[in-house]
Symmetry: C2
Subunit: 288 residues, 2 copies
């Protein structure tokens, strides 16, 4: 029997998820149908579209911009949230809470939310062989993308964490909120800076801003160094990566994070682990 999945967003035509998950389905030998699902940008429409999908017998949904926070609210009021989703304050993966279904709770009341973005980043770095355990890490950006990776990074054993943002107060607020939301995070001292003041040596620096979209560049000082530089963006020239590659750092864009988070969602839905290295190679052949 075909298992049905969607990725819901607005806009959505550009999403690569259908091709990625269709390849996963082939790799896992499962009959799946994964499609893009447009939705008007309001909470009532999102809830209605998600309800209709799960009413129809859908198995799982990915959630992308602008619905990750709305999905969070939806699940918080129904079937619950994973710890990563709770701390991230956002959901990118929807499924049905099987325990609740078994108790006869209707599908739409059993909606459960997870967030695999952060773990997808960590898994990609580990595949790259970057030394997360004991690492001195800096994240540039204090929005949703940054929020989603802090806990997974801490769980991966990093030593120290700094968060920098154009306006430092936003970074401070993020740290306060995260420390309240998670005891694990609360045990870490997280330094905060204005981006222009971030300096010194780090093992890993992560660009969690969408500045790559606008062609602007980050105000990075020359006194800022790292061994590894990661930009969550992909599919375009990334000045952030160039800045550090000419200074001898190893760099990576976020395409592997995209595959990583997708593989984790797929596993969440089907219980089947994906050989991400093999899938990435296969996808690169598809997309070139």
């Amino acid at each position: 029997m075909t298992q049905h999945f969607i990725v819901i967003g607005n806009p959505i035509a550009h999403s690569k998820s259908p091709e990625i998950h269709t390849l996963f389905g082939t790799q896992a030998g499962l009959d799946i149908c994964y499609q893009r699902q447009y939705c008007p940008d309001d909470a009532a429409s999102f809830t209605a579209v998600i309800e209709a999908f799960f009413h129809g017998g859908g198995v799982g949904a990915n959630v992308t911009v602008p619905f990750k926070q709305i999905a969070y609210e939806c699940c918080a009021a129904r079937g619950g949230l994973s710890e990563h989703a709770k701390v991230a304050g956002a959901v990118n993966t929807l499924l049905l809470n099987k325990a609740l279904l078994a108790k006869g709770v209707p599908p739409v009341e059993a909606l459960f939310g997870d967030n695999t973005d952060g773990q997808g980043l960590v898994n990609h770095m580990q595949r790259l062989g970057w030394p997360l355990n004991g690492a001195r890490v800096a994240i540039i950006g204090a929005g949703g993308a940054a929020r989603g990776v802090v806990l997974p990074l801490i769980e991966a054993g990093i030593e120290t964490l700094s968060i920098a943002n154009r306006t430092v107060s936003k970074a401070e607020i993020l740290v306060d909120e995260l420390s309240t939301a998670s005891e694990k995070i609360n045990q870490h001292t997280i330094q905060t800076y204005a981006t222009a003041d971030l300096s010194g040596d780090f093992d890993i620096i992560i660009n969690a801003t969408s500045i790559g979209l606008s062609g602007e560049t980050l105000p990075l000082t020359d006194k800022l160094n790292c061994q590894y530089a990661y930009d969550m963006m992909y599919g375009r020239e990334l000045p952030f990566l160039q800045h550090f590659s000419i200074r001898g750092a190893q760099t990576s864009d976020g395409y592997g994070m995209l595959i990583g988070q997708a593989a984790l969602s797929f596993e969440r839905w089907t219980g089947r682990a994906i050989d991400v290295a093999q899938a990435t190679t296969a996808l690169e052949n598809v997309s070139t």
Copy 2:
């Protein structure tokens, strides 16, 4: 495998369709799940909700106020419309055009629209034993409800048809549009009147207005008589029926039409005919 259905409307909490179709499923021995589906009142939300439902593997959807015209537009641009839906200019039943699916057309492009409201009325009258063949029929009202029953009545062999409306011009416009939309209707001369001017003897008079909701009464003259009076409304006191029952007419409200249109939708989706008399009795036991 569970077959999934929804009724989509706004508001929708009041809909009786889930109970009706669940009973049909039991009667037909099919594993079905039929649920109410709220949707924000705009075309983009409706299209997104319907797409998500069929993406999820949904089999069929009923459409009620305020989406019947939007559903019509949706299907006209995709998998097509039945003749009844085309002439009614509205869709109450959505399914997937199997011929298109077989050609690899994706579900959302194979969306097919039917309208079973009018035939549901005709079938109910025939169950009541009312003599449609050769009947002189009058319809009061010139909105969507009236529009949906003209072709089925003509196909049932009525002799003459008059359409009355508070403002007669609306009835005239309806007749013009219907005659253009259907050759069968075009061959009939349909008289039009202001409701207050409708008089003489009819076999059947149908109230296709929603005046029953507001508690107002229709401006019916004493020179208007009929053997059978039908009000499409149900579930409340209906002054229209009282007006004619005290004048010796046989009367019926529209509950049987609701069951009739549902049975036709069910048959459209599953290929299984429903024993409507048996179902109606069973439902009356459920609802009392």
